[in-house]
């Protein structure tokens, strides 16, 4: 008896001792202190091949094109597995998402059908990794986990009227309770689950509100669905998820989508519960790469990051160094410049001389309650390119040498790309024009809106204009955008993923413009009207996403060629956006050049602006001028202000003739005039990834102005 008691006592003693050591380990990372670290296995590094036994496609696979084809897709799509999509009333699955991308209709939570005008070439379901599949399990009262207190609000989500816009208030407060992590309830320190969480480096296991089996089964269903719908040569899918992180204090958005290169992936997504620091995400990606699984992470909604996405310092406010820059570029070759929640090319305050900068600006932080202004500096792509050059000067490397794509971030599985048939992205909350704020509210909806905005902590729930009272929901700043386009040899995972890695990509606002962009020192030797134009340009120059190294003699030349979307407005102009560091002053500079105009017009040699081509929109019926604008635009361009010593980047921007914005379409369909404080029209557009001009090494070092450079830790 005594013997047994002693054993039991010493077991308890050992248990307590190990808990003590673990708490030391967690709080102190010095190697001689960390006793158990060696015993840890990293559960997020276990690789699983999710490939499925597939019917073989009989459709002959098209031959690869060495001059590459443009493939259009969306890399940012949520389904019912996302904690918020489920709260938004979405019950559609990853399979539904891929069916939609291939051209089939799927149902919106409000009951209407969503269908693409033409199928897409690739698609990736990217549900929030954090809490993936869990909310569904809370709402499903047959699961064990739904019996907990924290799951109860989700049962209430489902009272009779709740699949309607009336439920918006309760839905919003639930959304913020997940984001605000009030449902994260850790087990007490002594609990065995804490030990398990420690030894498998899986913090989630320490949470009462988390069920690992449900989480893994949601993730493996996402991966299975991607693999099942992948059809090499015809339709490409990627396994992916969203790493939904933010800064602690300001709640600034640092969201990224992680895309896998093959049928293999980690057994679970690495999420914000593992770490909120993006650098830890990159470390995980690096380790996965060593195991043969390549991934990229794609930042999005930098516009709502309050200046944090493209900072001049690291997440922990250290100086950026060359290793940081290399690591970031290794893992983040491309950035999402446009999506439903606004466009992040540039902001009017950052680019006062760019007449097209005021375009689909969303000026609040993502998910902020109450809606809070997002600081433009550090939040936009063009300034990040400039800051990258600045950091390069100070030998910190360039962490912002990324290519560009667009995507939608739809939460209803279906990308909303068409201004004339728009459903925004958060299901019940913005699935109809009254809630989106594009048509006046019916009187009975005003009170509901007030309640909803109270949940959002927004003092002003409605706005009064000439035609009536409108919802002040913020959805007016969202829009029907965008697409990712990859120049790839063929429509396969491998070929398209490689295009992302090379940054041979461009972004559009949902239109299917096609855009070629080359730079070189001898491109004027190519006949622009020759059939071999593209193969010669590849041979003699570099394409979008590349460096153009100075040859010490010549000025760079650029070939740019765009083709319109046959279902959209004609092209109005192609511009080249140039950014550089002026060596005489150290200032970052930028300038927009119109390089080719529609209808045979010429850019003014002084102002570099195309004359007005006369294209107009009829706001009463959204018809557009049919006799002006171009089906294609093409030119060879030389930078008239080129200075050999200046580090520079150049990217192309293509503008369509104006057409109606979705808010105008909404109003017209409902028999109203467009709301007077919104842009009535939009110029759909495309942006290429930049070409960076790299001058020869100079003896003179100019430390540029701009940004807040910390000089510590610089090698």
């Amino acid at each position: 008896m005594k013997y047994i008691r002693n054993i039991l006592l010493s077991l308890v003693g050992l248990y307590i001792l190990s808990l003590v050591f673990i708490s030391i380990d967690i709080n102190d990372s010095r190697p001689f202190v960390s006793l158990f670290k060696k015993l840890q296995t990293d559960s997020a590094l276990e690789v699983v091949d999710f490939s499925v036994e597939k019917k073989d496609s009989l459709k002959p696979r098209p031959k690869p094109n060495k001059d590459r084809n443009p493939y259009y897709g969306d890399l940012h799509v949520h389904t019912k597995y996302s904690f918020d999509a489920y709260v938004f009333g979405v019950t559609a699955s990853p399979d539904d998402a891929y069916r939609y991308a291939k051209g089939e209709g799927v149902r919106h939570p409000l009951g209407y059908e969503m269908k693409l005008r033409e199928p897409l070439d690739f698609y990736a379901v990217t549900d929030h990794g954090f809490y993936m599949g869990m909310i569904q399990a809370y709402a499903d009262t047959s699961t064990d986990i739904s019996q907990n207190d924290f799951a109860e609000p989700f049962h209430n989500l489902n009272n009779l009227d709740n699949l309607t816009v009336e439920s918006a208030a309760v839905r919003t407060s639930i959304f913020s309770s997940v984001l605000g992590a009030t449902i994260i309830q850790p087990y007490p320190d002594w609990h065995p689950k804490i030990l398990k969480a420690y030894f498998t480096r899986n913090t989630q296991l320490a949470l009462r509100s988390f069920d690992y089996d449900i989480h893994k089964s949601a993730w493996s269903d996402v991966a299975r669905s991607a693999n099942e719908h992948n059809d090499p040569g015809h339709f490409t899918t990627f396994i992916g998820y969203e790493f939904t992180t933010s800064t602690d204090i300001e709640g600034a958005n640092l969201h990224r989508n992680v895309i896998f290169n093959s049928s293999k992936a980690s057994i679970r997504p690495w999420t914000r519960i593992d770490s909120i620091n993006p650098e830890d995400l990159w470390t995980w990606q690096d380790k996965l790469r060593e195991k043969g699984v390549d991934t990229i992470s794609i930042p999005h909604n930098s516009n709502g990051s309050n200046g944090q996405m493209f900072e001049m310092e690291t997440f922990k406010a250290n100086a950026i160094d060359i290793n940081y820059s290399k690591k970031r570029m290794r893992n983040e070759p491309i950035v999402e410049i446009t999506q439903v929640k606004g466009t992040s090319d540039t902001h009017p305050l950052l680019s006062p001389d760019d007449d097209w900068a005021d375009f689909e600006i969303m000026d609040t932080r993502v998910g902020s309650i109450p809606p809070t202004f997002s600081k433009p500096s550090g939040s936009y792509v063009r300034e990040a390119y400039l800051n990258g050059l600045t950091l390069e000067f100070t030998r910190q490397g360039n962490p912002y040498k990324f290519g560009l794509i667009g995507s939608t971030d739809t939460h209803v599985v279906a990308a909303s790309l068409d201004e004339s048939n728009y459903w925004s992205k958060v299901g019940l909350l913005d699935g109809d024009p009254q809630n989106r704020g594009s048509v006046p509210l019916e009187p009975e909806n005003v009170e509901r809106l007030t309640e909803y905005m109270r949940a959002f902590n927004q003092p002003t729930s409605t706005l009064n204009f000439e035609q009536g009272e409108y919802a002040n929901t913020g959805f007016t700043q969202w829009g029907a955008s965008g697409l990712a386009v990859a120049w790839a040899e063929e429509n396969t995972r491998e070929s398209i993923f490689n295009a992302f890695k090379r940054k041979e990509t461009f972004a559009t606002t949902g239109t299917r413009i096609a855009l070629r962009f080359f730079g070189g020192f001898n491109l004027s030797s190519i006949d622009l009207n020759s059939e071999s134009l593209i193969s010669e340009a590849y041979e003699k120059g570099v394409t979008m996403g590349s460096d153009l190294l100075s040859d010490g003699v010549n000025s760079p030349e650029f070939i740019v060629w765009a083709k319109k979307d046959k279902n959209s407005a004609p092209l109005q102009r192609i511009q080249i956006v140039k950014g550089w560091i002026d060596m005489t002053s150290g200032r970052p500079m930028e300038k927009v050049f119109d390089v080719v105009c529609s209808d045979g017009l010429e850019p003014d040699p002084e102002t570099f602006r195309c004359p007005d081509n006369g294209a107009r929109v009829n706001i009463n019926d959204c018809s557009i001028s049919t006799d002006v604008g171009s089906s294609e635009l093409k030119t060879l361009w030389k930078d008239p202000e080129f200075i050999r010593a200046d580090k520079s980047f150049y990217y192309a921007r293509v503008l369509e003739n104006p057409s109606c914005r979705w808010s105008t379409w909404d109003a017209i369909k409902a028999g109203y005039k467009p709301r007077e404080d919104l842009h009535e029209t939009i110029q759909e557009r495309a942006w290429s990834s930049p070409i960076w001009y790299v001058p020869e090494e100079s003896d003179v070092e100019v430390i540029p102005l701009g940004g807040t450079i910390q000089m510590r830790n610089i090698d």
Partner: protein
């Protein structure tokens, strides 16, 4: 709405329920749904309700639309699970014969084209070029964005690159002959179709796996349809005939 308040085989679809769905539909699409569309909306509601009631009988009761949908999905899965995993060869052959359009391999075209951009008098230039071509005189065309030669492309792909009108020119097209000028949204084209492979129906053995997957999927869909039809007759449906939308 509680179950106790009415007979469990009577379904009352409330005006409000229909109106709210129709309103959502209308505000999105910009017009009222037509009769067919209203019928479809109501039919969906009715079917969902029936499955819901059947699910309730299994004791899984919660009163809301999301759970109804989820229960409806659940009972659908239950009914689907009764389908045997390995269908017989006869079944597969019959299914293949009935649905052979699904397995049809599209016709493919291999063609070259001269392109004349509508940025530059495409009709005049292409008309002249066509005559020059017949006389073996050299011509001046423009490069096309997606290239000059298209190998083994289907009609659907031609439609997506060049538009519907242009693709209709490929029906019964003559081989090895210059044809044009043909108009597309980008300008005019003179095409030369070198090869045409007639679409064909493959032998069932080469698509057996796919037929099996499709057959099972159809069986599952059928099972739920049959089940619905079978119990639907037990329900009386009440819808306000005077409802104005």
């Amino acid at each position: 709405m509680g179950l106790n308040s009415y007979d469990e085989k009577e379904i009352y679809i409330s005006d409000q329920e229909i109106i709210s769905l129709v309103t959502a539909w209308k505000s999105q699409v910009g017009r009222n749904p037509n009769d067919d569309e209203i019928a479809r909306i109501i039919n969906n509601l009715v079917e969902e309700e029936i499955l819901y009631r059947e699910a309730l009988k299994l004791g899984l009761d919660r009163e809301d639309r999301i759970i109804k949908r989820r229960l409806a999905q659940k009972i659908s899965f239950l009914k689907q699970e009764s389908i045997p995993d390995s269908p017989s060869n006869e079944d597969l052959i019959e299914y293949f014969n009935k649905n052979n359009n699904k397995y049809f391999i599209d016709s493919k075209y291999t063609f070259s084209h001269y392109f004349f951009s509508n940025e530059n008098n495409s009709f005049e230039r292409s008309s002249k070029a066509y005559i020059d071509l017949l006389n073996n005189t050299s011509i001046n065309s423009d490069p096309f964005f997606l290239g000059k030669n298209f190998v083994d492309v289907s009609e659907r792909e031609i439609k997506s690159e060049f538009g519907e009108d242009f693709s209709s020119n490929f029906i019964d097209v003559e081989l090895n002959k210059w044809i044009g000028p043909l108009e597309s949204p980008f300008g005019h084209h003179i095409i030369y179709v070198r090869n045409y492979s007639q679409g064909y129906l493959p032998n069932i053995t080469s698509v057996l796996k796919q037929v099996e997957v499709d057959f099972l999927q159809t069986q599952r869909d059928e099972a739920i349809k049959n089940y619905l039809n079978q119990i639907r007759s037990e329900y009386k449906i009440y819808i306000n005939p005077d409802l104005q939308i």
